[in-house]
Subunit: 82 residues, 2 copies
């Protein structure tokens, strides 16, 4: 079994109202050192070892896990654990 971590973030320039709201809330709570907040998704997959795993993970990201029009993704593929 392999753990794959996918990080989906909004592209630069895409408005992030949730991030703005968090920034404002943190300022209200006196965390004035926070300049900006961007939110995204963190997705953890447990995957059986397969041929072409990297390519297949990229396909999953492109087709389902992210919206390539407005989002970027990165991923890390962990060590195989039985």
């Amino acid at each position: 079994m392999i753990k794959v971590h996918v990080y989906v973030t909004l592209k630069a320039g895409v408005l992030d109202p949730q991030g703005s709201t968090i920034t404002n809330s943190l300022h209200t709570m006196n965390y004035d050192e926070v300049q900006s907040v961007r939110t995204g998704k963190f997705i953890e997959l447990e995957v059986e070892n397969t041929k072409n795993l990297e390519q297949r993970v990229e396909e999953m990201c492109e087709k389902l896990l992210s919206n390539p029009v407005i989002e970027d993704y990165t991923y890390t593929i962990g060590e195989a654990v039985s």
Copy 2:
């Protein structure tokens, strides 16, 4: 300026309907190697260098960024960049 990455995940045992839906969708798309999917949040903060930054980030996670009853969090604090 320092980049802080916060990862918020559901605690083990907390149901994740969104993750189950993604798993089913991936199986429908013939990605049968996927055993399970858990979803979470990825939050990127840009923060001015402050005293006790680590402690303050933990406070933000406890008070606002996560719900400690059902969620866990981890964070990484990046290098200072001017």
